[in-house]
């Protein structure tokens, strides 16, 4: 059976390679989205992982831990770079409120659904139970821009206002989810040392902020003299891995720590444009590698996962949909946007994957592989669902 699956994946990946090579080959809409967003790399990870070829086995993944830390660091930095205050101020405050509200609503809805559903299917200790629910809801609250990126430019031009809002919301709505996810790591320490969680949270946050400030200072020192691109790339790689390492040693999330650093850099560093160019230059390879890495943890060992993933996907859909309806009634200006705004916020991209990967690296437990598999399936469902609903939303848009 394993060999048959492996062969199927190889055929599928060969087809992917063929598609990459001969781009004129026309695919149906859902498949086009699937390929162009790189989701096939999840299958590459699955094929290379322990379930099939065993090339990316536990030992190898342990050997590649610095690469994993680099990927998390890179995505954290990139996400932090989205929050340049001067740029955010150019948009109405309602946009910001809409992004946060929509994401929080999805977060809360998914959190309670997962919290009450998971124990019915998995045996999980109480602390891990909260952690798993927080992780899944944080991953659900984030949105990617992949669907928008694939639309034809003239179609976007016709709906510039709505696509502008969608782009804004999807680029920053992971903020609240990411910050809440960061708190998950304090559970980790309290579960080990038995400290009060609130005490840990306050002290830990202050501590990590001080360390992040030190790391930002280091970046600024490095950026103070002129360097060529390869030197800059080396420094960013080294600093991202170093920051991830420091965060892990201090029981904190590498992703969130790098986000703090990225946020400070984009608002304080004069050379931020050059740094951003380096970060964004390999954004796609980083994303694809992340897909491969997380795909290696994917384990399809129960049909229940397929059903649970559909339920998880549905809860997320409801959250995004309700969020869209509510935020378009926030103020008279927001009334101009179509109420089904949530239809355009279904893509789940890099940040969701990074949250799942961070969780797998830092707080894995007996059921974490199943939970990750469930979330990955949901991401694939969303990839299929999203293009139709996005186009439908924009057609609704007057």
């Amino acid at each position: 059976m394993k060999i048959v699956f492996a062969l199927l994946i190889i055929v599928f990946l060969t087809f992917s390679g063929y598609h990459l090579t001969f781009r004129s080959f026309k695919l149906p809409l859902f498949a086009r989205e699937f390929y162009l967003t790189g989701t096939e790399f999840l299958f590459l990870g699955l094929l290379l992982g322990a379930q099939f070829l065993n090339l990316l086995n536990t030992e190898t993944l342990r050997g590649l831990e610095p690469i994993g830390a680099l990927l998390l660091g890179w995505i954290g930095l990139l996400f932090g770079f989205q929050f340049e205050i001067a740029k955010l101020q150019r948009f109405p405050l309602d946009f910001f409120k809409a992004a946060i509200l929509e994401s929080l609503l999805t977060f809360v809805l998914v959190f309670f659904s997962v919290y009450y559903t998971l124990p019915l299917f998995f045996e999980i200790p109480e602390v891990k139970h909260i952690v798993l629910s927080l992780t899944l809801s944080a991953a659900a609250a984030c949105t990617a821009q992949t669907g928008l990126a694939l639309l034809a430019p003239d179609f976007i031009d016709q709906h510039r206002k709505t696509t502008g809002l969608l782009r804004y919301v999807s680029s920053i709505d992971g903020l609240s989810a990411l910050l809440i996810f960061g708190m998950v790591f304090f559970f980790r320490k309290s579960s080990i040392t038995g400290f009060s969680w609130v005490g840990d949270l306050a002290l830990g946050t202050v501590f990590i902020l001080i360390i992040s400030a030190g790391l930002v200072f280091l970046y600024i020192v490095f950026m103070s003299s002129h360097r060529d691109e390869s030197e800059l790339a080396l420094l960013v790689i080294a600093m991202a891995v170093l920051t991830s390492g420091v965060a892990s040693i201090l029981h904190f999330s590498p992703l969130v720590a790098n986000f703090f650093v990225g946020f400070c850099l984009v608002n304080l560093c004069r050379q931020k444009e050059r740094l951003f160019k380096i970060l964004v230059g390999v954004e796609k390879p980083v994303y694809l590698l992340l897909l491969v890495f997380i795909g290696a943890y994917w384990k399809l060992d129960s049909m229940w996962l397929v059903v649970l993933a559909a339920a998880y996907c549905f809860c997320r859909f409801v959250g995004k949909f309700l969020g869209g309806v509510i935020v378009t009634r926030l103020s008279p200006e927001m009334n101009d946007y179509p109420p089904h705004l949530g239809f355009g916020l279904l893509d789940q991209g890099g940040l969701s994957l990074a949250i799942l990967f961070d969780f797998q690296q830092g707080i894995s437990c007996d059921v974490s592989t199943s939970v990750i598999s469930l979330a990955l399936l949901a991401i694939i469902y969303n990839e299929f669902l999203s293009p139709y609903l996005l186009v439908r939303l924009l057609k609704e848009d007057k």
Partner: protein, 451 residues
Amino acid sequence: MVDLYQRKRNVITYILTLLVVTLFALWLRHLDIESSWQKAGMINFSFGFVLLAAYMSAQILKIARLPLISGYIIVGIIVGPYVSGFLTDDMIASFGFINDVALSFIALTAGGALHLQSLKKRRKSIILNILFLTLVVFGFVFMFFVFMGSHFSFIRNLSSVQIMAFAVLVGVVAVARSPSSAIAIISESRASGPFTETVLGVTVAMDVLIIVLFTVALTVVRIILGGSGMLDTQVFMAVSIEMAVSFFLGALLGKGISFYIDRIRHDLPLFLLFLAFGVTKISMWSDNFMISYFDIHLHLEPLLICMSAGFVVQNFSKTGTYFMESLDRVSLPVYVLFFSLAGASLNFDALRLCWLLTLCLAVVRVTGIFCATWLAGTVAGDPPLHNRSAWMAYITQAGVAIGLAQVAEREFPEIGMYLTTVILALIFVNQVAGPVTFKAVLNFLGEAKIR
């Protein structure tokens, strides 16, 4: 004046930053590391720290006109398990796989740096250098041990037969060089010209030849130590097949890379990373697979595969320039990582144990290299200036030599410990001195574009 001021300012900034980062690292090392998550964090932190420290130290040492890789190696030695212990043996072992992938990347570059046209032009010089370097260096080192070996306390316990076997093995390992160091220095100096082409051709070819020579040496030593009394032709057959299969796979891979560049082109560094990973992993896997299922020992050599792949892309497709540019864009992190880890693996304890013997051996080896290159250059009709200074380009030694020593240690445990210690100590000296002399000779002969 402004430039000098700027340079001084930069150096002071690097020194201060290095100090701050080091203090921070020392503080982190004193924290209690309990969970596996924290341990993984410490590994990641150390990885980032080594990259930063190596980069900054290399920039500081640049003032003394030392090559960058010397800076990386020196930092590796300092943070490694034999000096400060910041990087433990376990940590270095856990970086092993990334290190192998980095080495495959460097091998791709080494293959890609070989131009068939230039090799043809320099054919005579390259062949003569290989021939004389092999014969003379081996001869000098062999004679040194046979006639002087018993005077050194470190190997005094060995019998005369064992010293003879020891001399054969050290002699062959002394012939090995380090293509990775050579390619790093050439790429740092942006060197080109007849001298550079000859050195590169000789270094890469000897990396292949050394495997054959070592197999011969193992057989000879087996005879000397009283094992099998005949040359085992099966062993030679197996080595030839391994090399042929590796070259063939490399050529196929090279064709695949040029097809990818032709048809897709985007994200080439990522594609090459996948390939380097794949080659390294599949080589390991095929070893076990062939033994488990067919009881055949077929060891694919990832270095040879990558070198021949790079060579095919460069010489049998139109995509060579783009391929090399892509590799060059990611070369800095690869070199910093590879050479700082190489530095960390250099065995300082071994040098402490047999420093006198090692120094004498290093001098004998260098003398052998000088005689060999002078002779080869003179016969080939190369410029006298090249002939007098070519020895400086062939001193570096690294991974291959360590690998050979480990194989020999497993094969002949009775002399293995002595052999590994002496070879590790010799590599220590050569890997510290070699890059400096190589960069100096490229500058001296005017083939380096960046000084």
